[in-house]
Symmetry: C2
Subunit: 252 residues, 2 copies
DNA sequence: TCGAATTTGTGCGTATGTATC
DNA sequence: GGATACATACGCACAAATTCG
């Protein structure tokens, strides 16, 4: 006897086929699990497994208490990460949004004297417990949250200057590179380390995405031209909402 | 009554605690699930859920027919992606490995006249079905596979020249930038689009990683200084084995 | 306004497959 | 080849969310 496909995969293919044939359009609600189960001659649980698979692939979308829906292929926000992006006076995120013809806003909450946890201290080259300026961001494209970020700057670098608060004072929202330039610190390069992982429950709720869906967690650190870390951030980019693009010049 | 932690999370914390207290060292085999279940007063299935959670987080490692093991915190390979990496005569991957003091090898299989599928054609700016040179790579660090890649070059660009075959002829393994230079094509910049996803069964088997563990799928395209795409590749970087680092110079 | 019905989501158990020793 | 242990598939019960009368 040749090995045959397990039932839940057969149902998954069946659902995918019907969607491809436009039996259900994006945004439509599927029949209930019991209904599909009876129709296809399988248990309710098999349908659930099939739907869970398609949900994890972004084909379907489950809404508790309401139903299972065909996911809308929403246009993703293109997040460009390159040296060119840091030029000009505004914020990098604002530049991304302007390039897409979208409105870019953000909400932020700053704590001016936050003791550095061990990992952040290591990234900033300071001692654990040293004071930092910690800012939590929520970035919005056309009013919808699309990206999260938590930024850390050593307090002894900016304390007492006009740019202590990233989102306050005359240079609010100008971006790290521009703000550091105001106090005579030249940012020489940035290092970004993108790691794939699944969204936490809190992140999923803030971003309005399915639970445990995939995100890229970028650890970014800006260095002064003398090699000192001047800012580090944890940036959460949900795969369902954003595509990340690195542009790398090739010098020879 | 306040809501209490579900049993499987309690067991997960219990296992994590015991590992942290060195009751089991990295590489050790845990007791069987029935044994742990009896010891902790829960069903075997609860233990399984707890272990699955820790496996997905990379704390444990399951081996069918053998047991569940404490994962070894293996040193990850640092993959640097920057403009500087393309300088010098050798291959970018070889440079990464030399920087780590590891031996960098790779195996490849080239098909010289492969019709381009629709997606690749779009990325290379050619018509679907146009011929390409398609090369499948498996990159090894100290003999262990750590990265996969499938590369596509338009045949009409290199056909009839000495560098048709990426891994053959006098410039074998020199990297795209160097090989293109040999035929008078200057590579101006690269674009990389990293997407998080789960490894397929085939990828997991090739890389020797846990099934459905996380990888970064990078779509990379090299462009000539005239803006024409000269190569595109799909690169699979497993999170368990490699860390990706982008170095971005800040020009002002 | 409220509560009952519906639907998805979660936790957990059991049976079977399959790899390893 | 048998015993053991993990992996997978499937089923049931209940909780949570939503909808609607």
């Amino acid at each position: 006897m040749p090995e045959q496909q397990p039932p839940y995969l057969r149902i998954a293919d069946e659902l995918r086929r019907r969607i491809a044939e436009h039996e259900w359009e994006p945004g439509d609600r599927l029949p209930s699990r019991t209904q599909i189960g009876q129709e296809c001659g399988v248990g309710e649980n098999v349908v659930r497994r099939a739907q869970e698979l398609l949900i994890s692939q972004g084909v379907l979308e489950g809404r508790a208490g309401s139903g299972t829906y065909v996911a809308k292929p929403c246009q993703r926000v293109r997040v460009v990460r390159s040296s060119a992006r840091e030029q000009g006076g505004g914020s990098p995120f604002g530049a991304d949004m302007r390039a897409l013809g979208k409105q870019g806003d953000w909400e932020s909450r700053t704590e001016a004297k936050f003791p550095a946890p061990a990992e952040i201290a290591a990234r900033l080259g300071i001692a654990e417990g040293d004071l930092c300026v910690r800012t939590v961001y929520e970035f919005l494209a056309d009013g919808r949250p699309v990206q999260l970020s938590t930024s850390w700057e050593p307090y002894d670098l900016t304390g007492g200057t006009l740019v202590v608060l990233p989102e306050g004072g005359p240079h609010a929202g100008a971006g790290v590179v521009n703000r550091m330039a105001q106090i005579g610190v030249t940012v020489g390069h940035a290092v970004e380390q993108p790691e794939p992982r699944q969204a936490t429950a809190e992140e999923a709720s803030l971003l309005g995405i399915q639970k445990a869906s995939l995100v890229t967690h970028i650890q970014r650190t800006y260095y002064s031209d003398e090699g000192r870390p001047v800012e580090t951030a944890d940036i959460i980019v949900p795969a369902a909402l954003c595509e990340i693009v690195y542009e790398i010049p090739i010098n020879r």
